[in-house]
Subunit: 550 residues, 2 copies
């Protein structure tokens, strides 16, 4: 029998931003007990038309489902909990989350009509499952209730940081529990598995209370209505903005479904006081301009969010006018630049002034810069480091940086890398199957699946369909019918007419012996249709031919 | 008869980045003589699938084609000349360009098999066309031969800056002809029509020769092969990199079609010396790693460019290996972040080190920061300002900034705004039709055209086609044939089978009297097909039904 080891296996979030899914295993190669930490999504984009959500493919762990003891959630960001409603039902194990995270998971389960064994635990909870002894350690981050998980096993201890920063004065919730981290470090930490998002940035990420002060100054200087866009999940920021509004004698009106949902969840679990009051959109319009602040979603230019609708003058109750101010209390997530600038241009066209983090100190990141990473490594004193939660360039940099911070060895994993942590130090043992699942309508499809590739091609050149009926004598019966979607008229004539003519001509030229041969008719029609499109339009649409023998 | 005026009309590039097209008119409302300055493109993106090039719709000026005296090109960037081959043939007027610009226009005309009356003029040329007296004024920019155009008319003078920066030590070509600008200012400049790209940035954009020095240091420190990605059109940068390579005793190998094309054009017109030698890709591989530098296209992550192919290990002659360095001597054009980061991650995965302008001083912009704008306004001393070449947020800021620089009035135009410059100061006279044309295959389609909208929908949910033949008795003849593109299998079963069944069932239920009614059959089949897709897949593909009466 082989020796027992402690292994780490990321199925998502290593070598990419988003969709975190991490596995830890203890046992022998042939018999391991597993826990999963986090189960997140990333969002589809132009490369995956028609796909809203993308999540890690859990096939590997589904094979060992009976040995998966539990799923632990560190915090409630989408890239850590967004796949729970889709994947946890297949895992068939308990799911642990702190109150605020659990509250948001519940609303996701309801939406997806899914059921799981969700267990609410307190901040700082400690629990044992199989060979794992886990302790939630309170951190600070851009969402309430962020947790590291201190994992104790007979083979060594691991600090799994989740997402974090160090904020000595958050606007909401406790500061980082440095004492527990130091105590864990004193016990001996074999390995840290650590957030890499901001590893390329020197210094410190900055404190939320400094943002709050800056927002107070800024908002009090605005003459007319103020709109502030931020992430709804950043409840600390939401509170900062509410306090800044109160200081400027402005009532706050919440706009956007997720803003309302998250504020409600935060009140339910007591993170925001019930006494925090908001004005309804239909009432806000009647307030003097200098006494209202709209707190809204859409800082990333999402077309269906409140701010985009307002910018397009497509909101039933709110209109922006000359002299209003829109503050983007947020960063630009890479890839969203075009949408955000388009949104800002629309707002400028309506006469609004725009203030972004380029113009004023109105945002801090929720992830640790190099200075904070150094402090964390100083507390935990890990012997080894595995950087996660980042793209290749972040992970490789972090692996170097960790060595400069004094760890003996580090290894930047990619999804699917089965890495031994102990005994004997870091080693790549195996590659587990990994990949992505796309939520396409209601169906989860593997990333290599043909449907999305086909649709991208349709987006490029459209489709032409040709239907032809062939009678028993091998003659075309009725008319050749061609239909196109996505082709422009060619000098005023529909491409489908040109294709129908071309197909008819080509079939006329087919020898009589081939005319009841479905394959020959199909091939001839397809070739003629393609040729007609290429010669007139210069493109190759997908061509479908239906031959009906009548 | 109405009084004569001098008007400005942007048809592209005002309220957006890219596709510049500017018109100046002199005359009465009913009879104006026109000149056009620049005729550029912008590039299609995910919002316009299947469209590579987007250009201004010239319909307005085509109406007054007989009064359009000439098209003047300021410089050879795509957003100033990219539409010449497509639009100038319709304009039917001479096109003026300096030698390097003309050389690149020629190769575009050849590619598009188009012919125009192209007239090559020297830098600093002065010519009269109708009521316009034009003088090319040499500037500095990120391409050879950048020109402002000093326009003299009986109604007042205008300085049309084109794209520019102030570089006291360019690596190539002369410095800005400040003397001519000052002399023009002394004559009296009614209005400046000015580049707004970098108006949000304080200070100065920096000099190319400083970049050259920095590149020399950086490249000499690299142990293995060095790849440098930059814009091919930035011939000054190309020369800087060649000099840095020579200083580090490295031979330069050019990669990428546009790099070869532009270097050839620069040699043809004598901008680069014929003595500048390059090594062929097949030979470069045999050189010691520390003696080669690959100068390549693809700094924006363009998938078909040299660097992306190398990163995907898909280049016939070049492979990157551990310890090589890739220098991005370029900026990130907003909107390209995702592609660039994906490219960098692939390179990191191959073991390369990445150096960007975030890490070292290896790039300067080609557009004027606020300090340079102040100097230009100081030379030209315009009474009025019209900021162009920028998005809404740039133009509005520039209009304010110009007033702070001392102009009496400023007006930020949008495409289609017909603006009076003189007499009597800036006023919006009219809105001319304006818009965009998409090059879709070989066909120019208006931006509102249905083909691209249809294709985006196809990208979202694919297409289902149903063909059914109905015999004279109103029975389904043969089989109902359904074909889908872009739909995933539903629990292992092709969606087209589910659709075919559903359509057959629905047609069976159709009363006999309706069965030869093409519209009724179509409607029934379409509804059944949609319903089958929605209930199983959760999406609504486009549905095409072909009914053949046999």
């Amino acid at each position: 029998m082989s020796k027992e080891d402690l292994v780490f296996l990321p199925l998502g979030g290593s070598g990419e931003i988003g969709m975190n899914m991490n596995l830890y295993g203890v046992g022998t190669r042939s018999a391991r007990k597993w826990i999963m930490i986090d189960c997140g999504v990333t969002f589809g984009g132009p490369e995956t038309p028609g796909v809203d959500l993308i999540m890690p493919d859990p096939s590997y762990i589904l094979e060992f489902k009976d040995d998966l003891l539990a799923l632990f959630l560190t915090h409630a960001h989408e890239d850590h909990i967004g796949a729970v409603a889709h994947i946890a039902p297949m895992l068939d194990c308990p799911v642990y989350a702190t109150p605020f995270t659990a509250e948001l998971v519940k609303s996701k389960l309801e939406e997806a009509d899914a059921a799981i064994d969700l267990r609410v635990i307190e901040m700082g909870a400690r629990l044992k499952v199989g060979p794992f002894d886990l302790e939630y350690v309170t951190l600070t981050h851009s969402i309430p209730e962020p947790n590291a998980i201190a994992i104790r096993t007979a083979l060594g201890n691991v600090l799994h940081t989740g997402d974090w920063k160090l904020d000595d004065a958050p606007s909401l919730g406790p500061v980082t529990d440095a004492a527990s981290l130091e105590a864990f470090g004193a016990e001996g930490v074999e390995c840290i598995v650590c957030d890499s998002t901001n590893v390329l940035s020197p210094g410190e990420s900055g404190s939320e209370s400094a943002v709050q002060e800056s927002l107070k100054d800024l908002i009090s200087q605005q003459p007319n209505r103020v709109f502030v866009a931020t992430f709804a999940s950043n409840v600390g920021r939401v509170l900062s903005i509410c306090k800044a509004a109160a200081a400027a004698d402005r009532s706050v009106c919440l706009l956007g479904r997720s803003m309302l949902r998250i504020v409600r969840a935060a009140k339910t679990v007591g993170i925001l006081p019930e006494s925090l009051k908001f004005v309804e959109p239909r009432d806000a319009g009647f307030l003097p301009k200098e006494h209202v602040l709209y707190l809204c979603t859409g800082s990333q230019g999402e077309p269906r969010a409140a701010l985009s609708r307002i910018a397009r003058d497509d909101h039933p109750e709110i209109a922006i006018s000359e002299g209003d101010t829109v503050i983007f209390s947020s960063k630009i997530i890479p890839g969203n630049e075009r949408e955000i600038y388009d949104l800002q241009n629309l707002l400028v066209d309506l006469g609004a002034g725009i203030i972004t983090e380029r113009d004023a100190f109105i945002h801090v990141s929720g992830h640790p810069n190099q200075g904070e990473l150094a402090r964390m490594y100083g507390w935990a004193k890990p012997r080894l480091a595995i950087p996660v939660h980042g793209e290749a360039r972040h992970l490789e940099f972090h692996a170097d940086f960790a060595r400069r911070l004094g760890v003996e060895d580090s290894l930047a994993p990619r999804n699917g890398d089965l890495i031994r942590i102990a005994p004997g130090g870091l080693a790549l043992l195996d590659e587990a199957p990994s990949g992505r699942l796309y939520l396409d309508g209601k169906i989860l499809v593997p990333e290599g699946g043909g449907s999305i590739r086909e649709r991208k091609k349709l987006g490029w050149a459209g489709v032409a369909h040709v239907a032809v009926a062939i009678d028993k004598a091998g003659r075309i019966s009725g008319e050749v019918v061609a239909r196109c979607i996505g082709a422009p008229p060619i000098d005023g004539e529909p491409l489908e007419d040109l294709i129908a003519e071309a197909v008819e001509d080509a079939l006329d030229d087919l020898p009589a012996s081939k005319r009841r041969d479905v394959v020959a008719v199909e091939t001839t029609a397809m070739r003629a249709a393609r040729q007609a499109a290429v010669s007139t339009w210069g493109k190759r649409p997908a061509v479908l031919v239906s031959v009906i023998l009548v």
